[in-house]
């Protein structure tokens, strides 16, 4: 990830516009990207600062290129590189040896006189002779461990020039979020993935339903309720690539500008940023996929939709695999329990207990049942694939029960 020293954001009319290279306006950047990759690919053994200088020189006559953009490119290229790090501290040992040898002869003067008889050139030549090396070689290695002087060992690189430019665009977007105080995601699809990755980034959520399968999710951190803080900006940035891989969302981030005013960043899946992550899998398992295919979009008056409802109880969020909606308005949530560990099953039970007021139908694999256990009314047991009849039966039972009540 970039640091705040690389970030380029334009704040205009209360909105934030992170730097972005566009396919049309920056078409010539593909050429730059190819040449940058070439500098690193052919740069094995060269010093970091030489590589950075070459990258900078590429842009010397380019009218459209801020210094920060150049430095950001160097940073992203370095992230895909391995430099010789001098792990054994050879440079450090060499320094101490040389300085200790020189110390009794301090000061090393240019011209001898009666008081000071150690000239720089003689002392350096003597130390070089002691170490059995040329002085120039010693001089070159003396500070070889300093970042700028480290040599490129290998370059993993990026798959293509376009991939480097995409990575740049996402990196600027992430860096822009370092200044964010809170973010809001409005989503209609991939709800489970969004909530799961927000949780992995240790964000707290507030979820509101705003449509049949549209949710508004506010993300922030513990202290956000006490004061505006940029403390969770890095967490937002970490969460972003997962969001970019999803579909059907809009994001609004409230940022604190360097002038201590506020600005808003708007973003959606239509902005077509390329995430380094693959899009979420359509189905979590083949059992799910098989069932969805067998059932079809609608059957016996029940419409099937996937991961379209979120159940929330404070910081516990639960997105059942499917929702059945009947023409008469009855809705039944359907969760397929896979072959998992006892801990997973226990956790699932606890989550379900929280939402026991809702119509939840479970599909449980036979071997996950404890021996001799009697399955509840709302449980459908399956061996390898879920059959349709027991599910439809259970759905009707719920509908009739509901009908009697209503």
């Amino acid at each position: 990830m970039l640091t705040s020293q690389h970030v380029i954001v334009e704040y205009r009319d209360g909105r934030a516009w992170p730097d972005r290279l566009e396919r049309k306006r920056h078409a010539h950047y593909t050429g730059y990207a190819e040449r940058m990759l070439a500098i690193y690919r052919t740069g094995i053994g060269r010093e970091r600062r030489a590589l950075h200088r070459d990258v900078e020189m590429l842009f010397a006559e380019e009218p459209d290129c801020p210094v920060r953009r150049i430095r950001a490119f160097s940073k992203l290229l370095d992230e895909a590189s391995t430099y010789q790090a001098d792990p054994k501290g050879e440079a450090s040992r060499l320094r101490l040896r040389v300085f200790e040898a020189a110390a009794p002869r301090h000061p090393l003067v240019r011209q001898k006189d009666r008081l000071f008889e150690h000239t720089e050139s003689e002392v350096k030549a003597a130390i070089a002779a002691d170490l059995g090396r040329q002085w120039d070689e010693i001089d070159a290695r003396l500070y070889a461990d300093v970042m700028a002087f480290q040599r490129l060992e290998s370059f993993q690189g990026y798959p293509s020039a376009v991939a480097l430019l995409s990575r740049y665009n996402v990196a600027q977007l992430q860096a822009c979020l370092y200044a964010a105080e809170r973010i809001t995601v409005r989503a209609t699809r991939d709800l489970k993935t969004i909530l799961r990755y927000a949780k992995l980034a240790r964000l707290l959520h507030e979820v509101r339903r705003t449509g049949p399968s549209e949710y508004v999710m506010d993300f922030s951190g513990p202290a956000s309720v006490l004061r505006e803080t940029r403390r969770y900006g890095v967490a937002f940035a970490r969460f972003l690539p997962a969001l970019l891989a999803c579909r059907g969302w809009r994001l609004t981030a409230v940022l604190r500008t360097p002038w201590r005013t506020r600005a808003v960043l708007n973003l959606s899946d239509r902005d077509r940023y390329t995430s380094a992550l693959p899009p979420p899998e359509e189905f979590d398992s083949t059992v799910e996929e098989g069932f969805a295919r067998k059932f079809g979009p609608e059957r016996d008056g029940w419409r099937l939709s996937r991961e379209s409802e979120v159940l929330v109880d404070r910081q516990t969020a639960f997105v059942p695999d499917f929702v059945f909606r009947h023409e008469d308005g009855t809705a039944v949530l359907f969760e397929i329990v896979g072959f998992w560990t006892p801990e997973y099953l226990a956790k699932k039970r606890e989550v379900l207990r929280r939402f026991r007021g809702r119509n939840i139908l479970l599909a449980v694999p036979e071997r996950s049942l404890r021996e001799g256990a009697q399955a509840d009314k709302n449980v459908v047991v399956y061996r390898t694939a879920i059959k349709l009849e027991p599910v439809l039966e259970a759905l009707e039972t719920v509908r009739l029960r509901q009908g009697r009540r209503g």
Binding site: P63, L115, L142, R231, R314
Partner: protein, 471 residues
């Protein structure tokens, strides 16, 4: 969602904040600490910053007696393997007593070199509780570690400098404290902020807010900040409990000192480039100002992305600064100063890593740079202290508080300096040792920006009087 009175009353630590559960709204509003609490519907509990821990605990006990559970982790008591404090001087005793009388919460302001660290170590010795020491840079981190080991016999943990070794007594940096306080904020009874003027920044202050430690000690020579935020130290650390002005310290605890300014000329080639660069910047800015009278350096930077001419002007400006920083003549002057003070330990402050390495490679003198690793750092400092190394070259990392034993001669050969930096630099060479007068040389390029900075610096009282010397 409405606050409710369900379940037992519980106080918890949650990533730098406190959560209060099981109390209904009216009950919370009746607490003496009512104004610190905010209802957090996301988790269904009352929330406040961890800094309020001591006060909140008292008010809950006063209102509820023992009908609540304090689930905030407790600071562990610490047993020091030994206590070998040096005898405290009267002003140190006074400072410690003032802090103790203020309920062990407050700031001690003492000039550099008057033993702030000993005051803190004495405070740690008598409180004997889990302690977090926060220092500005990693040199100071290791220095605190050494001092705690030497005086209290305790091998403190280090969080920062890519280490994460958490112990009941731990030293860390402001940046690491900001990052990690959410996780470690409930482990300490005492928190010490060394060079506390670093604390009130918009982010770093959160390190103080997110920590439960009831006992707090802030140390600095120079609390003032140009942004006025030092006023917040009262809330973050506590009131000023002891203050000792620099003029009082001078000549008493500190050695007497002299400041010499040594002007150097640029070589002809440097001068030519310097002037060419100056002309380029001037010409560019003048042309812009014909159209936009208020055109500034900031505008130039903003334009540099879209305009190669602005970028060239920007580069010319940086080249000028680099010529000043690395003027060849400075190395010659340095040779003269080394001759003049042969046999006296001398420390050289460079304005950049590059210049520090240049000095080191010319004179084969050891350096302390920001990336210098612990082992080498110790070897160099120890070698300098024992006299094995007559010269030490440092970049700005040594600016504050780092112990450099008994240096009597300091040479500043570059670096932007605010008043505070100048004071800190003086403090480095002003430690009382015998009757030898300390000397500070400032080597500045003639007729450049450096001279102006030096003049501005001399206006602060620490630098009076200054004499000029031609070497």
């Amino acid at each position: 969602m409405q606050p409710n009175g369900e379940g037992p009353v519980r106080l918890e630590f949650d990533r730098g904040t406190l959560l209060l559960r099981g109390l209904a709204g009216e009950a919370v509003r009746a607490l003496a600490s009512a104004d610190v609490w905010t209802w957090d519907g996301r988790v269904g509990a009352w929330r406040c910053d961890a800094i309020h821990y001591a006060g909140v605990g008292e008010t809950l006990a006063a209102t509820l007696g023992s009908a609540w559970r304090d689930e905030v982790p407790k600071a562990l008591p610490v047993r020091w393997p030994k206590v070998a404090l040096p005898p405290l001087r009267p002003e140190q005793v006074e400072a410690l007593a003032a802090w103790r009388n203020a309920g062990r919460r407050g700031q001690v302001i003492m000039p550099t070199g008057t033993g702030k660290t000993e005051v803190a170590l004495a405070a740690m010795a008598e409180t004997a509780t889990a302690t977090l020491v926060v220092a500005p840079i990693r040199d100071l981190l290791y220095q605190w570690h050494r001092r705690i080991l030497k005086v209290l016999g305790y091998d403190a943990g280090i969080v920062g400098d890519s280490l994460h070794n958490l112990q009941p007594v731990t030293v860390t940096t402001y940046d690491s404290a900001y990052i990690h306080m959410g996780e470690i904020g409930a482990r300490f009874g005492l928190i010490v902020f060394d060079e506390e003027h670093h604390l009130p920044g918009p982010c770093r202050r959160e390190a103080a807010l997110m920590c439960t430690a009831p006992m707090r000690l802030g140390l600095t020579a120079t609390p003032e900040r140009s942004d006025g935020r030092h006023a917040d130290l009262g809330h973050l650390v506590g009131p000023v409990v002891y203050q000792m002005p620099l003029s009082q310290a001078r000549g008493r605890t500190l050695a007497d000192y002299e400041v010499f300014r040594v002007p150097v000329a640029l070589t002809e080639a440097e001068q030519d480039t310097y002037e060419a660069c100056s002309r380029e910047v001037r010409r560019f800015v003048a042309a812009r100002r014909r159209e936009r009278p208020g055109y500034s350096w900031k505008d130039l930077c903003a334009e540099s992305g879209a305009d190669p001419a602005a970028r060239k002007a920007q580069k010319a400006y940086y080249l000028k600064a680099s010529i000043e920083d690395r003027a060849a003549e400075k190395l010659r002057v340095l040779e003269d100063l080394f001759r003049l003070h042969a046999g006296q330990r001398t420390i050289v402050f460079a304005g950049s890593n590059v210049m520090a390495m240049e000095v080191s490679r010319r004179f084969l003198a050891p350096t302390i740079l920001s990336h210098t690793r612990k082992r080498e750092r110790l070897a160099v400092l120890e070698g300098f202290a024992s006299g094995r190394f007559p010269v030490l070259v440092a970049n700005r990392v040594l600016d504050e508080g780092v112990d450099v034993p008994e240096a009597k001669v300091a040479v500043v050969i570059g670096g932007q300096s605010s008043t505070r930096q100048a004071k800190q630099r003086l403090g480095r060479i002003l430690r009382r040792t015998g009757n030898v007068r300390a000397v500070l040389y400032e080597v500045v390029c003639e007729a450049t920006k450096e001279v102006e900075r030096s003049r501005a610096r001399r206006r602060s009282d620490a630098y009076e009087p200054t004499r000029h010397r031609r070497v």
